[in-house]
C-alpha cells in the first residue's frame, strides 16, 4: 500500500512491521517523532511491545542490551549528542554481539549547539563495531529497517540505520508499506543462540583475560583478542550476508538491487561523485546538468558504510578519471572519513596498476548549511577540470 508520510513515520512503520518486542528511547530532535509514533502504536495496542521510556540515551541502549540478551527483538533511535551519550553502550552492544537495531536520524553534534542535519554523529561511531546503513529516501528508510533486523539477527551484530535529519525525517514522500504477512515471511521471530533464562544462568561479557583460558567445562575459551577478531571477521563476512538479505528481500517485496551501492549514470562516466544518504540523490541533478554540458558524470551512493564494501567500490570506480567525495562530516585534522576510505579501497586494488584516479574531497552542509544544487554542480564541474584542492574543500563556507 502506498502512503504519503514523513521519514520518521516510515521508520516507525518498519519497526512495527518487524514486531520489535522492546523499544527503549529518549527523545531528541529530529528523532522525536519516530519514537512518539512508536509509543502511540504501543499505547493504541497496534503493536505488542514493551515501550520503556528512559531518562537518557545511555540507559536506552542499556535497556536494549538487556532486552536483546534475554532474547527480545530490541529497537532504539537517537540523534547527535544522544548518540554520543550512548557511545560506551554502543561499543558494548557490538562486543556482546547483540542484534539491536537503531535508527540514527543524522544531526550535527555540539558544540556549538545545533539541531540541523549533517552526518558527524554517525561517522564518529564508525569504529564501534556496528553495521551502518545509509538511506537516501523514505522507501529506503522503511526497507532498510526491515533488512536491518534480518541482517543483525543473521550475523549477531547490531545495525544502525542512518537517515538525514529534516531532509528525510520531516519531509513527506510517497512510499510503499509492505504487507504484514510479507514481513513475517521475511523476518521470522528472533531465535537467539542463547537467551538469559533463570533456569540456565550465565554471566555475560565478564572480564576476559588477555590470553585464552579454560572455561568451567575445561574447554579452551577465547581471550579478549579472539572475541574482537571474530567481530571483525564476521563484519567482513556480513558483506556477503547483506547480499543474501537484499536478494531475499527482492524476492518477497519485489524491489531491491545492488546491496552495497546505488549508482546513477556511472557506467560510462569519467567523473564519479561518491556520498552517503540524501545528498547522493541531490547530486543526481548535478549529474544531469553536467551530462547536458557533455561532461560524463555519475554519482555513487553507499548503502553500507560499515562493513565497507571496498571491492564493490573499486569495481564501480576502476577506470574513472576522477572521484569526487562529497561529505557532511569530517575527521578533524585530516579529511572526510569517507574520502580516506574510498582512497584506501582504490589504493588496495589499483596501486599495482599505477592507474589511480584523482580523489577530490568536498565538505558540505555542515550544521544544516543549505546545500544549493547549483553549488554542487559548480564544484563538481570544477573538480572535473582540475584539482580544486588537496585539503578538503568546504562548499558554501562564508569566511
Amino acid at each position: 500500500m502506498h502512503i504519503i508520510e514523513n521519514g520518521n513515520v516510515a521508520a516507525a512503520i518498519g519497526v512495527r512491521l518487524c514486531r520489535a518486542n522492546v523499544i527503549a528511547a529518549y527523545p531528541i530532535t529530529p528523532q522525536t517523532p519516530l519514537t512518539e509514533k512508536l509509543s502511540e502504536y504501543v499505547e493504541a495496542g497496534e503493536m505488542k511491545a514493551e515501550y520503556i521510556p528512559v531518562e537518557s540515551e545511555h540507559s536506552a541502549m542499556a535497556v536494549c542490551i538487556a532486552a536483546s540478551s534475554a532474547g527480545a527483538r530490541a529497537f532504539t533511535a537517537t540523534s547527535a549528542n544522544g548518540l554520543l551519550y550512548m557511545h560506551e553502550q554502543i561499543q558494548w552492544a557490538a562486543g556482546a554481539r547483540l542484534p539491536i537495531v537503531m535508527c540514527l536520524v543524522n544531526r550535527a553534534v555540539g558544540a556549538p549547539w545545533n539541531i540541523w542535519n549533517d552526518q558527524q554523529d554517525s561517522i564518529s561511531q564508525r569504529d564501534t563495531g556496528w553495521i551502518q546503513m545509509y538511506c537516501a529516501d523514505h522507501q529506503q528508510i522503511i526497507d532498510s529497517v526491515i533488512k536491518a533486523f534480518r541482517l543483525a539477527e543473521k550475523v549477531s551484530i547490531p545495525v544502525m540505520v542512518c537517515y538525514d535529519g529534516y531532509i528525510l525525517s520531516h519531509t513527506y514522500m510517497p512510499f510503499d508499506v509492505p504487507e504484514e504477512r510479507q514481513v513475517d515471511e521475511y523476518l521470522p521471530p528472533f531465535q537467539p543462540e542463547y537467551a538469559l533464562r533463570p533456569e540456565d544462568p550465565a554471566n555475560l561479557n565478564t572480564v576476559t583475560l588477555p590470553d585464552v583460558r579454560k572455561d568451567v567445562h575445561g574447554e579452551m575459551a577465547h581471550g579478549y583478542m579472539e572475541i574482537r577478531y571474530l567481530l571483525q571477521e564476521d563484519m567482513r563476512k556480513a558483506l556477503n550476508v547483506a547480499a543474501e538479505v537484499e536478494k531475499s528481500f527482492a524476492e518477497i517485496f519485489g524491489r531491491g538491487g545492488n546491496p552495497y551501492l546505488e549508482d546513477y549514470r556511472c557506467d560510462d562516466a569519467d567523473f564519479v561523485a561518491v556520498g552517503l544518504g540524501s545528498l547522493t540523490y541531490q547530486l543526481r541533478v548535478s549529474v544531469d546538468t553536467l551530462r547536458k554540458e557533455g561532461i560524463k558524470a555519475g554519482v555513487l551512493g553507499l548503502r553500507y558504510y560499515r562493513p565497507f564494501p571496498d571491492e564493490a567500490i573499486f569495481n564501480a570506480l576502476k577506470g574513472k578519471k576522477k572521484v569526487i567525495v562529497f561529505e557532511k562530516a569530517l575527521s578533524y585534522g585530516y579529511e572526510g572519513a569517507l574520502a580516506s576510505d574510498v582512497k584506501s579501497a582504490l589504493y588496495e586494488y589499483l596501486a599495482a596498476t599505477g592507474n589511480l584516479p584523482v580523489v577530490q574531497n568536498f565538505i558540505t552542509g555542515i550544521g544544516g548549511r543549505e546545500i544549493r544544487t547549483e553549488d554542487l554542480t559548480k564544484y563538481f564541474r570544477a573538480a572535473t577540470q582540475s584539482r580544486v584542492s588537496k585539503e578538503p574543500f568546504w562548499i558554501g563556507l562564508k569566511l
Partner: protein, 112 residues
C-alpha cells in the same frame, strides 16, 4: 590448537567453580581456624555460620567445622573480620609448606 571451534563468540561464563581461574594463588594470607572458639564446633550444632554467609567467594562450607576451599580462597580476610568469636585469624602464606599450599579443601586448624 586455538579456540576457533569454541562454541561462543562472546565472553560467557556459566555458573561453576573457578571460571576466572584458580584464584587461590592470589592469596597472601590464609584464614586459620580455631574450633575451640567456633560456635557450631563448640556446641556441635548448626549455628552462626557468619563466615559462610559473608564469604564473597562462596568458598566456606556450611558444615561443622566450616571448611575453606583454598584453591579459590583469595585470602580477603572478611571471614576473620566478621567471626563474632575471633575463631579465624589470617596467617602469612609464607609460613605454610609447599605441601600445604597444593592441598585443596583442607580443614581449618589452629597453627601449632
Amino acid at each position: 590448537m586455538g579456540t576457533r571451534n569454541y562454541k561462543r563468540k562472546t565472553s560467557h561464563s556459566e555458573s561453576g567453580p573457578g571460571d576466572g581461574g584458580k584464584t587461590g594463588s592470589w592469596r597472601v594470607e590464609r584464614p586459620v581456624h580455631d574450633p575451640s572458639l567456633c560456635i557450631p564446633c563448640k556446641r556441635n550444632k548448626e549455628a552462626c555460620f557468619i563466615c559462610w554467609l559473608f564469604c564473597p567467594e562462596v568458598v566456606i562450607s556450611r558444615t561443622i567445622p566450616p571448611k575453606v576451599n583454598l584453591e579459590y580462597c583469595k585470602g580477603c580476610g572478611i571471614c576473620a573480620e566478621e567471626c563474632p568469636t575471633k575463631s579465624i585469624t589470617m596467617v602469612d602464606e609464607a609460613k605454610f609448606t609447599e605441601e600445604d599450599k597444593d592441598e585443596a579443601c583442607i580443614s581449618l586448624k589452629t597453627e601449632t
